[in-house]
C-alpha cells in the first residue's frame, strides 16, 4: 500500500547532503594525484613528439640536440637494475626469513625490526654519502662504477625489499607451517618447501616495485661520482656508468632550449615507459599467482 504511492513520508526523510558532499570531497582527493600525473604525461609526451625515435634510443649523447641519443644511459640503467636485483633479492629474502622465522622477540630483535622501517625513510642523498664513504673511499672500488652504483642504490632499496618480503612471509598461514612440522620436517625444510614457495610471488612483487623506486634515483649516483655523460655501454662491473635520470638531469641544465624541452622530454618519456613496464610486471606477477 505505502510502497506503491511513492510519496508516503510517514517515516520522515533524513538529509543526505553531507553524505553527498563527502563523497565528492573524497573523489576530488582521489583525482588530484591522477590528474596531475595525467597532465604531466600529456605535456611531456607532447614535447617529446619528433624527438623520441629509434635514433634517439640507439645513439650515444651528442652536443648537437638533433644527434643526441639515450642509449648508454638506457643500457646503464638496465645493467644497474640487474645488479640491484641480484644484490637485494637474496639479502632481502635472507633478512626477512631470519626476522620472521628465526629471530625471537627480544629487545635486540625488536630494535632491528623497527629500524628497518626507519631505514626505508632515510633520504637517498644520505645513502649516496654512505656509498661514497664505504665503497669508493674505504673499499676503493672506483668513482661512479657500475658496481658502486649498484651497491649504493641496493642499500637504499634493501629496506623496502625486506619489508615487503617480511609481509609476504607473514601472510603464509601458520597452519601450513604446523602441517609441515607435524610431518616431521625441520625448520629449514619447512621454510624451503612451504614458506618460500608460497611467499615468492609477494616477494617478487615487492622486489620489482623496489626496482621501480631504484630506477628513478639520481641523488645517490651524483654522490658517488657517476659521470654526467657516458658515451659507451658498460662492459664490466668496473665501467663508469650513467643512468637515465642522471642523463636527464644533465641535459636539463644545458643552455640550449632544444635540450631543455625536446631531448629531456624524450628521455623522460622513455624513463616513464620503462618504469610503468616494471610496475605492470609486478602487477602481472601478483595476479598470476593469486
Amino acid at each position: 500500500m505505502a510502497a506503491d504511492t511513492g510519496d508516503d513520508h510517514s517515516f520522515g526523510r533524513i538529509s543526505r547532503s553531507k553524505d553527498v558532499a563527502f563523497e565528492y570531497l573524497t573523489l576530488a582527493a582521489t583525482l588530484v594525484g591522477i590528474v596531475a600525473l595525467g597532465i604531466l604525461f600529456v605535456y611531456v609526451t607532447r614535447d617529446a613528439v619528433g624527438w623520441l625515435d629509434w635514433q634517439f634510443l640507439t645513439s650515444p649523447p651528442h652536443p648537437d640536440p638533433y644527434e643526441a641519443g639515450f642509449y648508454p644511459a638506457l643500457v646503464g640503467s638496465i645493467f644497474l637494475m640487474i645488479v640491484i636485483a641480484l644484490v637485494t633479492f637474496p639479502l632481502g629474502v635472507g633478512a626477512a626469513v631470519y626476522l620472521e622465522e628465526y629471530a625471537g622477540d627480544g629487545p635486540v630483535e625488536r630494535f632491528v625490526r623497527i629500524n628497518i622501517a626507519n631505514l626505508a625513510g632515510v633520504p637517498s642523498v644520505v645513502y649516496g654519502l654512505l656509498g661514497l664513504g664505504l665503497f669508493v673511499t674505504l673499499l676503493d672500488i672506483g668513482y661512479g662504477t657500475l658496481l658502486v652504483a649498484g651497491f649504493t642504490v641496493s642499500l637504499l632499496v634493501l629496506p623496502i625489499v625486506i619489508i615487503s618480503a617480511r609481509e609476504a612471509i607473514r601472510a603464509v598461514p601458520d597452519s601450513r607451517r604446523q602441517a609441515s612440522y607435524g610431518m616431521g620436517a625441520t625448520k629449514w625444510q619447512t621454510i624451503r618447501n612451504v614458506v618460500l614457495p608460497e611467499a615468492l610471488p609477494g616477494i617478487m612483487t615487492g622486489t620489482i616495485l623496489a626496482l621501480g623506486r631504484a630506477i628513478g634515483e639520481t641523488a645517490p649516483l651524483i654522490m658517488i661520482g657517476a659521470p654526467t655523460t657516458v658515451f659507451g655501454v658498460p662492459n664490466s662491473l668496473f665501467s663508469k656508468i650513467s643512468a637515465m635520470p642522471m642523463q636527464i638531469y644533465t641535459w636539463a641544465s644545458y643552455p640550449d632550449t632544444a635540450f631543455q624541452y625536446g631531448v629531456v622530454a624524450a628521455a623522460s618519456v622513455t624513463l616513464l615507459v620503462v618504469l610503468l613496464s616494471i610496475n605492470s610486471a609486478a602487477i602481472l606477477v601478483r595476479n598470476r599467482y593469486q
Partner: protein, 295 residues
Amino acid sequence: MARNVPDDGKPSRNERIDAAEASGETGGLIETSVTTEDSDEHSTPGRTIIESRGVDVFYDDVQALRGVDMEIPENRVTAMIGPSGCGKSTFLRTINRMNDLVDSARVEGELRFGGTNVYDEGVDPVALRRRIGMVFQSPNPFPKSIYDNAAYGLKVQDKTDDIDDRVERALRDAALWDEVQDRLDESGLELSGGQQQRLCIARAIAVDPDVLLMDEPASALDPVATSKVEDLIADLAEEYTVVIVTHNMQQAARISDKTAVFLTGGELVEFGDTNEIFENPEHDRVEDYITGKFG
C-alpha cells in the same frame, strides 16, 4: 619453551613408571632410523605405548592441563572428549611436542612414548614427529598438487623409494584414491573440505608412523564425509595407534576403545574403556557431560 621437570615424586607414580619401563622397549627416538622400520613387528595390540604421568601444561601463567595420567594402548583408538577449552588439543600437541612451537607453552611431568620420556634432553622433536603423525582440526593441505601433498612427508623424511606406490597406498587407505586418481596433478586446495581432510590423513599415514593424532578430524565435514572418515579410523586402528579428539559423543562411542574425559580446568576426570564410560561413568559430572546436561 617446553621443558621437562621431574614429576612430584609420589611413590605410586614412580612405581608405575618403572613398571612401564621394564615392560616396554626403550624408545630409540634419539636414533630413530634404527627403530622405525621394524616397529610394526614388535607391536603388541593393547599394550601401553604412550603413557602420561602428571602432565601439567602452562601457557605463560595459565594452566591448561593439570596432572594428567593416562595410558594409551597400542593399535587401539583412544578418544578424548570434553567441553571446549578443556585442553584436549593441548594434550594432543604435548604428545608429539608440537607445543614446542608455541613460545608461551611449558610442559611439566612425564610423557613416555615406547618407554622414553619425550621431554628428555636427548630427544629430538623432529624425530619424534616422524613417528607420531598428526591430522589437524581444520584441513590444512599445502598449495601443492594432490600428489605432492601426499608425498610431502616421504620427501621430507627421505623415504623416496617406491614413492609412487607409497602415495597410492596412502591415498587408498585414506579412501580418497578413487576420487583423485585421475587428477593427481591438480592442487590439493581444489578438493572439497572432506576430500582435503582425507588428503591430510593420507599425508600423515604415507610415512607409516606408529601413532596417529587426530584433532577433531571430522569437525568440518558433512555426515557422509564424516562416516567415511570414521570407517577409515576403524581401519587405521589395525595398523596404527589412533588418538582422536572429538566433540561428538556418538562418534567417540562408535569408534573408540578407550575414552578420556577432560573437564573444564584441564583435568582428566575419567579415563577407561569406552563402554564403561558411556554406560556407567564414575563421576556425575562426566555423566552430565555425556548426556548433554552441560558443556
